[in-house]
């Protein structure tokens, strides 16, 4: 600080009395002011920084919500023990109930036990009624949800059992009580009339009753159907068994599968083949299709249906894991089709078991590895060695996918906690064609929920991304010419008075709630367009034509008339003509329909094979274009208006016409500004929610037909997020689409902003 004057200090003893407060008081005041200054700085600093951090938090939070989807699954060893069964009993089946409080194990000698999965302590033990001298020679189980198992016996009979659990809440605490049930009676039922040893069995409970498939040691294939009949007189239920022998295979049968609708039977054999029998009419059952699913020399060592019994997972002795299902061809015949391959195991696959509520499964191999995989997303979520180099005979999952059992060759049970919340998501499932169950080819589909439990959620973001692009494309197609041309006129030709009115009007339009535009588009414009389709297209042609004609006539008018209205009012002159043209087109619309489209253009379009939705891309294009015009207009107009005057004056002075000046000088200089206007407009169109929500049918289709609707990312969030389960995969995928929108618009806006700032610098330097 410069010394600009000498300080006047009251001299001791002088008679000048200072009006200043005492030094001490001043000191205090100074300190107080300093304190206030510091406080203010700190408060503003804290407030400002926290606001900026809060805004940044949006990105971080969205990101943190989607990360869990892409993490692999993990398992953690909980305990390991021999299930409490007789010493020499070989275990053929283990399972867990929903709350993982009780587990079940069944041994080859017919003894069974319910025990605590965490400790292996027995709860309930027992033995099935297997006659003396007969041994259990085969084992199979139904859909995991049915908890149904079947034991094939050496005398050609089979016994179906079910491990059932009842829930009670005495004193508000959950109590799981296990019991064993015999849905087909406690006595084994004859499956093979000849009484041969059963080497493979399969069971399934469908709406039509129970069915069993069995292979005997002499190579026959049998299918038994059980129908319960209730005698109305005595009230007793009798069971009818209807067994047919199916045409058998050459190779030894290694695995059998029966679908839950009791229509399909799949047989895996020792030569690596899978054969499909259509057993919907058992008497006429025959092999329909047979496929080599493994290379020569390998056998089908594990075979399992996934939830819903549509997809088949084939595990080979070569360690390969593949998914197959029946796909209809043009003749409506179903063929076994290889859908996808999963990461292979290093040794023969010994066990495959599905999840209870999703399309995932667990695989185990002969070298002690277990792996979690998921069908739809083709993900192999984890593979881990749980038993050192020894084969695992069974690996099963808990109903809620939160625990697993792996049973090794020495009947030692390994119990693991599982964390596998989001297996459905992979880059492939989100962005590439996926072959969903029941479809005839890989497709992009978004279908997040359905009424049935066996439903396979389809989470392809492609339809919505394309829908977003489609909506934005048509909106920009409508908005860009109008906004940019309007901006050129307003900034360069319009008289200041008219410009003073035009600009605020269009800026107010920017603030118009989009819900209003959407409602008008959906309730007024969409029916209007449907009714006056020819008008829409004739306006496109007639409107520019009218302007040119008016312009031509104007040029030919006598000078006097032209002078009456000065330059810069052309837009005002055009207003009545534009309104007239619009009115004319609407009035002519029914006549055009009669002349060219047999009286009904919509019907005509349908006859041409073009789908027409009332709320379509055309309507959205216009409505959203309307919302975007002010944004583009306002920014582009600023850019054009701020082109330095001396540039244009120089151009005009050199003899260029005004239009030449505009195209060669003004537009070239302002083009970065116009570009950034378009970018910001595009950003707005991409994220707009209400207009698309209201003006389209919101069907997630994949095409660019202007007469069909679309579903955009934003509308999808608005429709589905309120229904999505908190923290679930669907919820997180919607967060992902929000993040995609966020990043996309942020990127567009930043690019536009940088371009604008450069332009501003350029103008300043010119």
């Amino acid at each position: 600080m410069n010394e600009i004057g000498t300080e006047v200090t009251p001299q001791a003893g002088s008679n000048i009395k200072s009006l200043l407060p005492k030094a001490k008081q001043r000191e205090r005041l100074r300190r107080w002011r300093g304190f206030k200054d510091g406080t203010s700085r700190n408060v503003v600093w804290a407030g400002g920084v926290s606001v900026i951090v809060a805004l940044g938090l949006i990105f971080v939070y969205l990101f943190s919500e989607i990360v869990p989807m892409f993490l692999p699954a993990s398992i953690e060893r909980a305990s390991e023990y021999r299930p409490p069964l007789p010493e020499d009993a070989r275990i053929v089946h283990v399972s867990m109930e929903r709350y993982r409080e009780v587990a079940f194990a069944l041994a080859k000698d017919g003894s069974y036990v319910f025990f605590r999965p965490a400790t292996g302590l027995p709860i309930l033990e027992g033995r099935l009624a297997i006659p003396d001298g007969v041994e259990v020679t085969a084992f199979g189980h139904g859909e995991p949800r049915t908890r149904l198992s079947v034991l094939g016996l050496s005398d050609g009979r089979a016994l179906a059992v079910r491990d059932a659990y009842s829930l009670t809440y005495p004193d508000g605490v959950r109590l799981v009580t296990p019991k064993i049930e015999f849905p087909l009676g406690e006595e084994p039922l004859p499956v093979d009339p000849e009484g041969r040893r059963l080497i493979e069995v399969a069971i399934q409970e469908g709406v039509r009753g129970f069915a069993m498939a069995a292979a005997t040691d002499d190579g026959r294939l049998l299918l038994s159907q059980f129908t319960a009949r209730r005698d109305f007189m005595t009230g007793r239920t009798t069971l009818d068994v209807d067994t047919v022998e199916l045409p058998s295979l050459d190779a030894g049968i290694t695995r059998l599968l029966l679908s839950i609708d009791l229509r399909d039977l799949l047989v895996g054999d020792a030569e690596g083949r899978l054969t499909y029998y259509d057993v919907s009419a058992p008497a006429r059952a025959r092999p329909v299709d047979s496929r080599q699913v493994l290379p020569d020399g390998f056998e089908v060592s594990a075979l399992s249906y996934l939830l819903g019994t549509v997809s088949i997972i084939v595990g080979g002795s070569d360690g390969s894991v593949t998914q197959w299902f029946l796909v209809r061809d043009d003749q409506n015949v179903r063929h076994l089709t290889r859908i996808r391959d999963f990461d292979p195991h290093p040794a023969a696959v010994t066990s495959i078991n599905p999840e209870y509520s999703r399309k995932g499964f667990i695989t185990a191999d002969a070298k002690g590895n277990v792996a979690l995989k998921f069908a739809t997303s083709s993900r192999s979520l984890m593979m881990q060695n749980v038993v050192n180099e020894r084969p695992i005979s069974h690996a099963i999952l808990a109903p809620r996918n939160d625990g697993l059992f792996a049973l090794d060759a020495d009947d030692l049970l390994h119990y693991y906690e599982v964390d596998n919340p989001h297996p459905q998501v992979s880059f492939r499932a989100l962005w590439q064609k996926v072959w969903y169950e029941g479809r005839s080819q890989p497709e992009y589909v978004w279908q997040s929920s359905s009424a049935t439990d066996e439903f396979e959620p389809k989470f392809s973001l492609v339809p919505m991304t394309l829908g977003t692009i489609k909506a934005a494309f048509y909106a920009m197609l409508f908005a860009m010419p109008l906004a940019i041309m309007g901006a050129i006129y307003s900034a360069y030709f319009m008289t200041p008075r008219m410009r003073g009115m035009t600009k605020p009007t269009i800026e107010i339009m920017e603030a118009l709630p989009t819900v209003i535009l959407g409602f008008l588009a959906g309730l007024w414009f969409a029916p209007f367009v449907e009714r006056h389709l020819p008008a829409v297209f004739s306006v496109l042609i007639l409107m520019p034509l009218t302007m040119l004609v008016v312009s031509f006539i104007w040029a030919k008018l006598p000078r006097g008339v032209r002078k009456a209205i000065p330059d810069g009012w052309e837009a005002a002159v055009l207003v009545p003509f534009i309104i007239l043209t619009g009115w004319f087109c609407v009035e002519m619309s029914p006549h055009l329909e009669i002349w060219f489209f047999n009286g009904d253009m919509r019907q005509w379009l349908t006859d041409q094979g073009i789908t027409y939705d009332q709320r379509n891309a055309l309507v959205v294009g216009v409505a959203m274009g309307f919302a975007v015009i002010p944004t583009i207009f306002s920014i582009a107009e600023d850019a054009i208006f701020n082109v330095p005057r001396h540039l244009t004056q120089g151009s005009l002075a050199l003899g260029a016409t005004t239009w030449q000046t505009v195209t060669r000088v003004v537009l070239l200089t302002a083009s970065p500004g116009i570009f950034s206007a378009v970018m910001i407009g595009l950003g707005r169109a991409v994220g707009e929610t209400m207009i698309v929500l209201m003006a389209t049918g919101n069907s997630p289709i994949v095409n660019f037909n202007i007469f069909e609707g679309m579903r955009t990312l934003s509308a999808n969030i608005a429709v589905e997020l309120p229904e999505a389960e908190f923290g679930g995969t669907h919820y997180r995928i919607l967060f992902l689409s929000a993040l995609v929108l966020f990043v996309l618009t942020f990127f567009l806006n930043t690019a536009a902003e940088i371009v604008r700032q450069r332009l501003r610098k350029k103008y300043a330097s010119l």
Binding site: R33, T39, R41, G47, G48, V51, I52, L55, I58, P481, M485, G486, T502, P504, I508, A511, L512, P513, T514, V515, I516, G518, F519, L523, R531, M543, P544, M547, L548, F552, W554, A555, A571, V573, L574, V575, I578, P590, H591, E593, G599, Q603, F626, T658, W659, Q660, I680, G687, T689, M690, L693, M694, S714, I717, P722, F726, A738, F742, T745, F746
Partner: protein, 550 residues
């Protein structure tokens, strides 16, 4: 011609046309909403005619004309509507027939050529009812119980006062049901929760439970009194009936308790119509919705919108201003702050639904869920704050509009000349004194502009609200006479969402359409006024800044 083309004039005219079309669209849109929204309250004449269907049947039609269209016959044929043979074009009319309870069809298209000439009978009656929409017909007589008290012209004289009486009684019933019984229910609920939390704490003292039981008994008694009062009102309101003839010749008895408004629009004078207009407009602005939101008023929606915007302003103003002051006055200007500035600016362009997603995940589920766990454990698993509500909606919109306020305030701060700052500092003021005594007051109008723009944006925003708190029909307003008076956790209604819901989710879209236009007009009006205010303030500010600079 070539010269004309070379001069560039056609291009200029095309550009002019683009500007003109943009303007026409803006004004056309506002005019469309205004005309449709305002005309909804005007009593339209009732026409009567006979339609001769081509299969030889005749149908008497009484109702209001809603729409007219000229279409090719093929279109009419495709819709299964009769048309005369030898024609290419037909005019069709959409007529509101009302009487949904009798015929099941509220609206119908008729082809003009099949109609007799229209008449506008003087004594055609239109009733606006609390259920089943409008009734059109002819008044026969008015009854009190089984007693006929008026027939013919006398019936009309009896009708109007009785309708007014029923309206009064209905308002009393409404008051009892909504406020008095509502208050008791709130207290009952509180007692239930107190009891639960006593249990959860393992309270064993029977006296505590006894006190609650006494309170409950007391409330039960109060409730019984109100219940009796209500029953009596219901009995009184059920006294009168009117008998009218509908167009299919049936005699219909309608309880006057169900009649909101009765009118003979064809004989109304201009001033009667004006009275009717303002009566209906008053109901629209101040009333509660009826019939799944398709009739009645939008008061709760207006109230909810205002409440939400107010709360949002309280949050967004200090935060936005602080952030702007920090960025402009305290932060060290450099590439880093410039990056932050651009980012904040760009947040204004991020789709609003993204903010909604953030609000739902972060505020509602995370913050709200934590609040519930900490402070309202007795209500779980029913969420209190862990569900969309007014507070979260306001916070979400505050976040959404923060960039608007920050940008506007920063602009205001930038416009203040350096000389002012330097002058203040030179006089010995500290930085804080300069800021709060000189700079901020000068920038206040800019902040005001920012706030108004933020409010205008918030008032029109719907997409994020759908995720964080708006409902189609809120049973209670967020403010009422029960402690703590302002209920931040409640869900609320909103004008914008009302438009979406009534226009697109309503069972009877055709009937609801005029109301949607009126609601839209309301919203457009509010937003245009707010924006014009902001623009006016901004312009004044610029003038002032110029004056200071000079």
């Amino acid at each position: 011609m070539r010269d004309w083309f070379k001069s560039g004039a056609p291009w200029i005219w095309l550009n002019a046309g683009a500007a003109a079309i943009s303007l026409i669209m803006v004004f056309g849109l506002i005019a469309l909403i205004a005309v449709r929204g305002l005309s909804h309250f005007w009593p339209s004449p009732i026409l009567e005619t006979t339609v001769h269907h081509t299969d030889g049947t005749e149908e008497r039609v009484l109702g209001e004309l809603r729409n007219t269209e000229v279409v090719p016959v093929a279109v009419v044929a495709a819709m299964g509507i009769d048309f005369p043979e030898d024609q290419e074009l037909v005019t069709r009319y959409l007529i509101q027939l009302g009487n949904r309870d009798l015929t099941g069809r509220d609206f119908a298209w008729f082809v003009g050529d099949l109609m007799d000439e229209w008449q506008f009978p003087d004594d055609a009656l239109v009733l606006e009812r609390t259920e089943w929409g409008n009734f059109y017909g002819y008044l026969l007589r008015v009854k009190e119980g089984d007693q006929v008290v008026g027939e013919g012209e006398a019936a009309w004289e009896e009708l109007f006062p009785r309708v007014a009486r029923a309206g009064d009684l209905r308002r009393q019933i409404h008051r009892i049901e909504r406020f008095d019984i509502g208050a008791i229910n709130t207290q009952m609920e509180r007692i239930r929760l107190d009891e639960r939390s006593l249990r959860a704490r393992g309270e064993t003292d029977p006296a505590a439970f006894e006190r609650l039981r006494e309170r409950r008994a007391e409330l039960d008694q109060q409730y019984a009194v109100l219940e009796a009062e209500r029953a009596e009102l219901y009995e009184r309101i059920a006294r009168d009936f009117l008998v009218a003839e509908s167009m299919d010749g049936r005699e219909v008895t309608i309880p006057i308790a169900n009649v909101v408004r009765a009118a003979r629009p064809n004989t109304m004078s201009f001033f009667e119509k004006l009275g009717h207009y303002f009566d209906k407009f008053g109901e629209f602005v101040g009333g509660f919705p009826r019939e799944a939101n398709t009739e009645g008023g939008i008061f709760p929606a207006i109230f909810g919108t205002v409440m939400m915007v107010l709360l949002m302003s309280v949050v967004v103003t200090p935060l936005g201003v602080l952030a702007a002051i920090y960025l402009r006055e305290y932060a060290k200007q450099g590439p880093f702050v410039q990056t932050i500035r651009i980012s904040v600016n760009n947040l204004a362009g991020v789709p609003s639904i993204v903010f909604g997603v953030f609000g739902l995940g972060f505020f509602v589920y995370w913050v709200g869920g934590s609040i519930d766990d900490l402070f309202y454990p007795e209500r779980l698993p029913a969420p209190t704050f862990g569900t969309p509500g007014l507070m979260w909606a306001s916070l979400t919109l505050a976040l959404l509009t923060l960039p608007v306020v920050i940008v506007a305030t920063e602009e205001g701060l930038t416009r203040i000349p350096r000389s002012v700052r330097e002058g203040s500092l030179a006089l010995g003021a500290t930085k804080a004194e300069t800021l709060w005594r000189v700079i901020v007051p000068m920038a206040a109008p800019a902040m005001m502009t920012g706030l108004i723009l933020a409010v205008a944006r918030a008032a029109g925003e719907v997409a994020p609200l759908m995720l964080v708190g708006v409902v189609k029909l809120a049973p209670n307003l967020p403010v009422d006479g029960n402690f703590p008076f302002l209920h931040l956790e409640r869900k609320f209604m909103h004008l914008g969402f009302h438009i979406y819901d009534v226009g697109f989710q309503s069972p009877n879209v055709e009937a609801a359409r005029p109301l949607v236009y009126a609601t839209a007009l309301m919203l457009v009006f509010i937003i245009i006024v707010l924006n014009l205010t902001a623009i006016a303030i901004r312009n004044r500010l610029r003038e002032k800044a110029k004056a200071v600079a000079e």
